[in-house]
């Protein structure tokens, strides 16, 4: 028992350290990419090619003055950054990075991630509320409404994945996607050679993939859905009043969330660590970095969406499409197993 607990904690610490250490480089990569796409240099002075830029930023933030605004709810003000960062980091313990590289294989892995994502909103809401500042407060209100709305759509997308793979366990979801592409057609199993059995290649999962990606952008408050921190109207949104390392924690959490969504997208739709020739971990990281790149690309390309349009998109487009996808999948299952067995 005690041994189990020890190994569990050790795995947890290793994964967290890896994630933590990768975030500065993701930030740097984003800034360089943005620079490239906007036809400028980006940070390239600190270290070779600017590699140490993020560490320099951290050092700078460490020496910043800690400010607690007058009239702030002190306890919650201090608690909020932790409430954002901790759920963001905790998600990584269930992600299967490779065949034997999954710290914990929970029976309800998908729901665990959904649950932690839904807890993450508290940090943002409380940060905005406890700052006693109207900009922060508006950001918090926006954020809670936005995350609640998009959580439903993301949940439906996950239901589609669970229906197609038949498991809530992330490890099994990945295993289901092994081998060549298979699907039922006219009462028999058809195999397509040379194509992997990823959900992203099955037409019935396309709407779910789209919803998951769009919802993932919204859940992480990333452009074009970064309304909670819309700098043109709300200064910096929910973290307007935060300085120093507390601000850094929000920043870290945002990128940790980006990594989570990318890892989830790969796990749920792109076959996880499956791939020919290269070792599994490399495949996983490769696919994941492509999705992370998508996040950066979107930020450089798309303008921020208006708030009412955001709500409209979530409630009147994504949600009905998600429902339709679930229903369509249910009909497909009936066709597959036959009506008589029900």
């Amino acid at each position: 028992m005690a041994e189990e607990v020890f190994w569990g904690i050790l795995k947890f610490v290793i994964v967290l350290t890896c994630v933590f250490l990768s975030i500065p480089f993701v930030i740097l990569a984003e800034r360089r990419f943005l620079g490239f796409m906007q036809d400028r240099y980006g940070p390239n002075r600190v270290g070779p090619g600017g590699l140490l830029q993020s560490f320099a930023d951290v050092v700078k933030l460490l020496f910043k003055e800690e400010i607690i605004p007058a009239g702030a709810d002190k306890a919650l003000y201090l608690l909020a950054p932790a409430l954002v960062l901790v759920p963001a980091l905790c998600t990584f313990v269930v992600i299967p990075f490779g065949p034997n590289a999954q710290p914990v294989d929970l029976g309800i892995g998908v729901l665990y991630i959904l649950g932690l994502a839904s807890l993450g909103v508290y940090g943002i809401v409380l940060a905005g509320w406890s700052s006693n500042s109207k900009y922060a407060f508006l950001g918090a209100l926006r954020s809670s409404a936005q995350m609640i709305s998009y959580e439903l759509a993301v949940g439906l997308a996950i239901v589609v994945v669970v229906m197609m793979t038949g498991s809530l366990r992330l490890g099994e979801i990945v295993n289901e996607q092994a081998g060549p592409l298979r699907f039922w057609w006219a009462g028999q199993l058809v195999e397509v050679p040379f194509l992997p059995n990823w959900l992203a290649l099955k037409p019935l999962a396309w709407p779910a993939l789209l919803i998951f990606l769009v919802g993932g952008f919204a859940e992480t408050n990333r452009a074009p859905f970064d309304l909670p921190e819309a700098e043109t109207e709300l200064v910096a949104g929910y973290h307007t009043e935060y300085t120093g390392m507390k601000f850094a924690m929000f920043f870290l959490a945002e990128y940790a969330n980006v990594l989570t969504v990318s890892a989830m997208t790969v796990t749920l739709f792109f076959g996880g660590w499956h791939g020919p020739l290269l070792p599994p971990l490399v495949w996983f990281l490769l696919k994941m970095s492509l999705v992370v790149f998508l996040f950066m690309w979107a930020r450089a390309t798309l303008p921020r969406i208006r708030y009412d349009r955001l709500m409209q998109l979530g409630w009147t487009a994504l949600l009905p499409v998600g429902l339709a996808n679930v229903v369509a999948l249910a009909f497909y299952h009936i066709l597959k197993v036959g009506y008589g067995t029900i």
């Binding site: 028992m1 309800i108 729901l111 807890l119």
Partner: protein, 167 residues
């Protein structure tokens, strides 16, 4: 004490303290957060019993969805202590304490009479698919009833908040 027992007592005491904090906190936002904490602790207790699906649903539905909406409304109304006005129910406080004490005593007696004991092994190891099987076989009728309830609640809300035409 085993690890499970330590976690259980932490979660159980946390749940009770959270509930007390929710009731006694003058600030509605703090109250909501105490309730979230309490619900989260209850989820941990479920987890210890081996009901992981129930635990995570508790977190997603109560802590993640319902309480965020509560918090949203509380913040939107932005209630301050002095806006509640004079507390006119103060005469009822002793009665409510008494009633709570009696109810607590009765429920504790009932709970002890059932024969509560600490089990080392998770007793409710029900995987999600077995739960789903029960839901779609034995408890199909209540399941369908629940969907009808949600439907009329939704229709009711729309009817209640819809602005009159031309108004």
């Amino acid at each position: 004490m085993s690890v499970g027992q330590v976690v259980f007592w932490l979660a159980a005491v946390g749940a009770v303290l959270g509930a007390i904090g929710m009731l006694s906190s003058p600030n509605p936002v703090h109250s909501a957060l105490f309730l979230v904490f309490s619900l989260f602790c209850v989820a941990v207790v479920y987890l210890l019993m081996g009901a992981e699906f129930l635990a995570i649903i508790q977190v997603i539905v109560y802590a993640g969805a319902i309480m965020v909406l509560f918090l949203f409304v509380i913040m939107l109304l932005n209630l301050k202590r002095d806006e509640f006005g004079q507390d006119r129910l103060f005469r009822q406080y002793p009665v409510s304490y008494l009633a709570t004490a009696v109810l607590g005593a009765v429920l504790t007696t009932a709970g002890l009479a059932v024969g509560l004991r600490f089990s080392e092994e998770p007793t409710l190891l029900v995987p999600a698919d077995r739960l789903a099987n029960l839901l779609f076989t034995k408890y199909l009728l209540p399941f369908e009833l629940a969907s009808l309830i949600l439907l009329i609640a939704m229709i009711g809300v729309v009817v209640m908040v819809k602005r009159p035409r031309g108004g």
